[in-house]
Symmetry: C2
Subunit: 351 residues, 2 copies
């Protein structure tokens, strides 16, 4: 299992809180916060204190475990149906915290299914949910390692990649998705270098990706988002590696806004464009990318900057958090299940 | 002549200083500064207090006029050759303030040529340079109006454009280049709306373009640079209009970093991609775009943000100010001379 020593999101041993790294405070401060209710978890997800599709799935499951444990303690004699109704209602609120990443709803659904299989008492249901939340974390760590193994099989021995947003430890339970092969290659002494877009507006590239790679001793160079096309033309990049927030059944990929432009430029310059994500990111119920709901984020992410007001009232803002890259531009989708090549068919075996 | 009421750069009536709008202070404050020496003008150009290819050409010429006037006053009896040598040496320093925009060297060269035609005394040479600097400004204003006329002939009656960086009043003597047809259309009551990228790292889009369009009553919406490709896919944009810092003889265009990615996406989605610039931006001595020197700017433009340090020492930065869009992606180059279509041949008449 890949580790950078970071534990971005964990259900506390006593099950009473979710401990997260507050990613809004990075890179200045590595601050942990303990979230003791569903509302605190929802707020942390909405404000991007915890972010990254896999990480918010883990956080959502852990938050549900904390909330139902609190309920079970307050209502030790509640009957199963009442507990399940409460669980479902809290789960729906957590799943609705952000719309685009499929992992959040998927993790909540897994906890609900685990609860249904549990005995009738509130405490056994709470225990089942907590166990499932821990399983989701453990599986995430294993999936990162599997993604790395599959990706390294198709990357050169030594490689230089371009990545966008943050898909490292901080975006997951700790192993990363698109950065998992970077960490794995570095760990065995391969030469690996990374170009990271700064990723406006919230700067996950410069604040998070550069920070965690630099801490791990991996050479990283930050570029403005607008420089990616020139970089791809320069021939210095062996592959683009990005994550995903939701992958449609046909292989269309929703990921951080700006991904689509990079994919177009990568195709123009013959640079492989790979999407790395756990299988849970594939949404079989969404046939094509245009059906994916794209979250629109707050005006202030563009209108305010470090205390400055850049935009007067009356100036419009269009601030989609994600975009959709069509499957035709994706060279491979690399999951813990293997390397998928177009045309994508996730029902079948990976090729 | 188009006017927004802004006078971004002017040679003072007494010829003793260059008055600029300090664009670093926008949008918070509209502050004018009087630059009384070549060194002050060079510093203003380097630090982007005055920016935009046409505007720095005007500023460079005006700065040269101020400097040679000061010299002439200090050395009233200097002979022509000595004055010309001084003029040439100051001109070379001004022309070297920023490497990519051709207009700076072009404006300095015009002033030197005007001086050569002047009489032998220091004061007549100084007067000739000042007159040429004023002519460059006047022509710039006329060129903006001509660019607007030619552009409106190929745009729909009512239109929505996407633009990048700032190509409005602030980038020129006042009429704009890529925004000139926007102002001209608005002035005659056509419906015109603008999407403006924020343009990292220095935010010329949100700080300057949105500010000046909003002040003029033109609806403007700011997007993160990474959202341009999605916007172009959406079908909402009739054309991309951008400026240029240098146009090679074959039609390759150096412009603000990020332009190339927008051009690739525009082609993919069938949106016309037009470059609007005065003829002085065409550099006949540069055959192709890859020969254009691309300025690399300071690390701190990415490493620092509103007082925050985003990048630790040891994290690399690649911060090119410009990129090159190949002529093959440019639908039309619109100058004051007319609408040029590919294959580009600026020796011939515009088609």
């Amino acid at each position: 299992v890949i580790t950078t020593g970071l534990a971005p999101v964990r259900l506390a041993a006593d099950g009473q809180s979710v401990r997260i790294i507050d990613q809004r405070r990075l890179p200045e401060e590595l601050v942990y916060r303990d979230l003791a209710s569903a509302d605190e978890v929802i707020d942390a997800i909405r404000t991007l204190a915890v972010r990254g599709a896999p990480a918010i799935g883990i956080a959502g499951a852990a938050g549900l475990a904390v909330a139902i444990r609190t309920f079970a303690h307050a209502h030790p004699d509640a009957v199963g149906a009442q507990v399940m109704e409460t669980l479902s209602s809290i789960g729906a609120r957590i799943a609705g915290a952000r719309p685009t990443a499929v992992n959040l709803g998927w993790a909540v659904d897994r906890c609900l299914a685990a609860a249904r299989g549990a005995a009738e008492s509130a405490s056994t249901i709470a225990a089942a949910v907590a166990a499932e939340a821990r399983r989701i974390l453990d599986e995430d760590l294993e999936m990162g390692a599997a993604i790395a193994t599959h990706a390294l099989a198709i990357l050169p021995d030594h490689f230089c990649i371009l990545t966008h947003c943050n898909t490292g430890s901080l975006a997951t339970g700790g192993a990363g998705t698109a950065l998992a092969p970077v960490y794995a290659a570095h760990a065995v002494g391969r030469s690996v270098t990374v170009f990271a877009t700064e990723t406006r507006p919230l700067l996950q590239g410069s604040r998070l990706t550069a920070w965690e790679l630099h801490n791990a001793g991996i050479p990283v160079t930050v570029i403005p988002d607008g420089a990616a096309a020139s970089l791809l033309r320069s021939g210095r990049v062996d592959a683009v590696l990005v994550g995903a927030d939701r992958i449609a059944a046909n292989g269309d990929v929703a990921n951080k806004v700006g991904t689509y432009a990079i994919a177009i430029a990568a195709r123009r310059h013959g640079v492989p464009f790979h999407v790395l994500a756990p299988r849970s990111t594939i949404d079989a119920s969404t046939a094509r990318g245009h059906m994916i709901e794209i979250e629109l984020r707050a005006r202030d992410e563009l209108a305010q900057l470090g205390g400055r007001t850049l935009l007067a009232d009356g100036i419009g803002v269009w601030n989609p958090a994600f975009d959709v890259t069509p499957a035709s531009l994706v060279s491979a989708i690399i999951t813990d299940g293997g390397v998928h090549r177009p045309p994508y068919d996730f029902g079948g075996s990976p090729r």
